[in-house]
């Protein structure tokens, strides 16, 4: 196993980091938090991202993409997470696209690559992420399907052009693409406006033809949904760990800079050991996330367990870094004026979306055969 970037991947990372330093400064993120500039900042950032062909980076050339892989997408996800970038990248590229591709479809991928279509994936209901417990119904009507139910915590749910929905028919779960115009999306006021959430209601929405990605009862259904969710989940883990790393770096710099009792606070062992623990948590979660990315990229059998482990470790990491990052900043970290809270909030958001640490440990327990699984779960 070779868990280090190739030279090309490193170049991509360096380029992305350079671009984002000027395209997504903390002032832009602050604008999103304070909604001072409408969505101008985020729109400009998205225009930059599209100008660099990042939405299509991991898509095959036949769909207008750059033909790179899941690892390269991960490189961008990390860099965007690092600066707590707002915008449709996360939902479109790491949720919508994997769902479409896992189903073997190319629906609107060329538009995504061209930067003219955004999307998302609607899985959760009442904040629960297990696709096996989805109650949203899919019922046959003529040659299509009728969807009915309510999805919660959909990233970009009120703004994305297309929503992939997990819904359950009599024969099991399926995947459907619904256009924004057909759903009733209610934005949720949430802690982190860089990852906007919405409740999405499907009131007898009919879908036909290529919008039916995977039919309930299709023998490939469970594996397609599993694959899509795994890719979305591991990318959320990667993004979250990158955000945590930036909390860590800010806290480390602060510990060297801030003096009390006539010396840098970072010279106190109680502070040192906490920072060493934080460093371990970030490296640990990062290594697990990249391993899981590789299992997705190479379609390895270990994927479901690797992803569950990676997301649970990202959750542990977010919990530790949001706690110690804030605590070690003292009073200044508690203020709205300081930029730290952008990444604290993004970290806890990334922990909980697509299932928190405990959820994924429970999943791992099922996958390891330690507890009985849900019969018929996807």
């Amino acid at each position: 196993m070779d868990l280090e970037f190739t030279e090309l991947q490193q170049e991509l990372r360096d380029t992305a980091r350079g671009v984002l330093a000027s395209a997504c400064p903390p002032s832009l993120v602050r604008g999103v938090f304070e909604a001072t500039a409408g969505s101008e900042g985020a729109d400009a950032l998205w225009a930059t991202v599209c100008g660099l062909d990042w939405p299509g980076l991991g898509l095959p050339e036949e769909h207008g993409g750059l033909g790179l892989g899941v690892v390269e997408v991960g490189v961008l996800v990390e860099e965007l997470g690092r600066v707590t970038a707002p915008g449709p990248y996360l939902a479109t590229v790491t949720q919508f696209v994997p769902a479409v591709r896992a189903a073997g479809s190319s629906f609107r991928l060329a538009d995504v690559a061209a930067g003219t279509c955004t999307g998302t994936l609607a899985v959760a209901e009442h904040g629960r992420w297990a696709p096996g417990v989805a109650a949203t119904r899919a019922d046959r009507v003529g040659d299509g399907w009728r969807l009915r139910g309510t999805k919660s915590h959909v990233v970009d749910g009120a703004t994305a052009d297309e929503l992939v929905v997990v819904a359950r028919g009599d024969a099991g779960p399926g995947l459907f693409v619904v256009p924004a115009a057909e759903v009733v999306a209610t934005p949720v006021e949430s802690l982190d406006p860089t990852v906007p959430l919405a409740t999405v209601e499907l009131a007898d929405v009919e879908v036909h033809g290529e919008r039916v990605l995977v039919e309930p009862g299709d023998p490939a259904s469970a594996s397609a949904i599993g694959r899509a969710l795994d890719e979305a989940t591991v990318m959320m883990a990667l993004s979250t760990v990158a955000t945590c790393r930036s909390i860590f770096e800010a806290t480390l710099a602060y510990a060297k800079d801030r003096h009390q009792f006539g010396r840098p606070i970072g010279s106190f062992q109680a502070v040192k050991h906490r920072l060493a623990d934080c460093f371990l948590a970030v490296e640990r979660a990062g290594a697990l996330a990249w391993f899981a990315v590789l299992t997705v990229a190479e379609d390895d059998d270990r994927r479901p367990l690797a992803v569950a482990m990676a997301k649970s470790a990202a959750g542990d990491c977010a919990q530790l870094l949001s706690r110690d990052g804030l605590q070690l900043h003292g009073g200044i970290g508690f203020t709205w004026e300081h930029d730290l809270h952008f990444s604290l909030k993004r970290a806890v958001t990334g922990d909980l979306l697509l299932g928190g640490a405990a959820f994924h440990r429970a999943r791992a327990a099922e996958l390891m055969g330690l507890v009985p699984g849900h019969e018929g779960a996807a």
Binding site: K272, E283, A287, L288, M309, S312, R361
Partner: protein, 406 residues
């Protein structure tokens, strides 16, 4: 980034696996005569180390005259991995092969290499590492065992007085790689030198210290040095450079020690997971869920230790620096402790019953063995020795993160 190495590396793996299959010591032979201390090499172990040396597999990265084949780091990694998988140690004398011999090769004279390093590499001799003292543990640089040169540096003798403690393997070792204060007036880090001291030198007294588990097979010892005389030529490297060399020698194979630590951890986890269905089956649902969670947590840690090790290793193999490496000793030893603790918890009161797990000879003496609870106590060997977990945190904070010394 990818899950598998190049085909050329896998060729090395296949070649080594074939050789290992044909040449390895038989499990029955190992179990019949396990090493009793890290200084003790049973006959099968001596023959086996020699066989690896002759075939160039013992330290693959070294040239053939030193028991290697000039292999790259990735090939070396693969060999270590296959050995651990086959449950065959390269040696029982881990500190001899891992620290003493490489240090002599790096800093010693040609005669010292011939007379002290080579016998270790050929499985003919074992060495112990005399660093810690009653008054100098974590603060090793404050050690006070004294050596005074009588006569001139060419033909004189060192006269040594003092005491070492926690000296692994001293009860069987042939010689000691001894850290002494030779420059009492220099600052404490610059006054230490290393001497090669045959254990049968008059004035050397070894007293074994039975340990909290397996007390019948002590590895730790006190070593008393009373007017011990060794030739001036037994000085390794330059006078006063002992501390700098210690940092070099502890760094030896640091790029690789994690492989054994992680594979030991994986083996322990595998056993726990294999036992789990039977242990969990009788539990009430709530207890079962909590026990499963404990197992999952340590499984995540185990996977993380593997991935961290591989990630750091990949950076080193490319010639870069790898901050992950500084985490491995601390993290892997903590995880090893935790897996034993979880095993004991899940097993319940049954884990209080001791004994009954024979030593099959495949684990190094300092690796936890026995029942889960015995393993738990044994595992502190690795969270305490070679820099405690607290000292490891200090090192990470200061050397890797650049935080100021307190």
């Amino acid at each position: 980034m990818r899950l598998r190495f190049d085909p050329s590396v896998e060729t090395v793996r296949d070649e080594f696996r074939d050789w290992l299959g044909a040449n390895r010591p038989a499990p029955a032979e190992m179990a019949a005569d396990p090493a009793l201390s890290t200084g003790h090499a049973p006959d099968w172990m001596r023959r086996w180390t020699r066989r690896m040396f002759d075939a160039g597999w013992l330290v693959p990265g070294w040239p053939p005259e030193l028991g290697g084949r000039n292999a790259g780091p990735v090939e070396t990694f693969v060999v270590l991995e296959e050995l651990a998988r086959a449950r065959v140690p390269r040696t029982s004398n881990v500190q001899g092969l891992g620290i003493v011999a490489p240090s002599i090769v790096d800093y010693g004279t040609p005669e010292q290499v011939r007379d002290h390093a080579m016998p270790i590499l050929r499985g003919e001799a074992t060495a112990c590492l005399g660093m810690s003292e009653p008054g100098a543990g974590s603060d090793l640089a404050s050690l006070s065992t004294r050596a005074v040169l009588e006569g001139d540096p060419g033909s004189g003798e060192w006269v040594i007085d003092g005491q070492k403690v926690w000296t692994s393997g001293a009860n069987y070792a042939d010689f000691c790689f001894l850290f002494c204060r030779t420059e009492p007036d220099a600052p404490k880090h610059r006054g230490i030198s290393i001497l090669l001291v045959p254990m049968d030198t008059p004035g050397v007294t070894v007293r074994p210290l039975p340990e909290i588990v397996h007390p019948g097979e002590p590895d730790l010892n006190e070593v008393f040095l009373d007017s011990v005389r060794v030739p001036a030529a037994n000085l390794v490297g330059r006078r006063g450079d002992g501390w700098a060399m210690a940092n070099g020698s502890l760094a030896h194979e640091r790029g690789m020690v994690w492989v054994n630590a992680v594979m030991g951890l994986e083996e322990a986890l595998e056993q726990l997971v294999a036992q789990a269905p039977a242990l969990l089956a009788g539990m009430e649902p709530a207890e079962r869920a909590l026990a499963a969670d404990e197992i999952v947590r340590i499984a995540v840690d185990t996977q993380a230790a593997r991935c961290l090790g591989q990630r750091g290793f990949a950076k080193l193999a490319r010639g870069g620096s790898a901050p992950e490496q500084a985490l491995m000793k601390w993290y892997a030893s903590d995880c090893r402790q935790q897996v034993a603790r979880v095993g004991a918890d899940v097993l319940g009161a049954g884990s209080l019953e001791s004994g009954g797990v024979p030593n099959d000879g495949h684990l190094a003496v300092d690796e936890p063995r026995g029942t889960w609870m015995e393993q738990y106590f044994h595992s502190f060997a690795n969270t305490i020795s070679a820099g405690t977990s607290e000292i490891q945190r200090n090192i990470v904070a200061e050397k890797v993160l650049g935080l100021p010394r307190g």
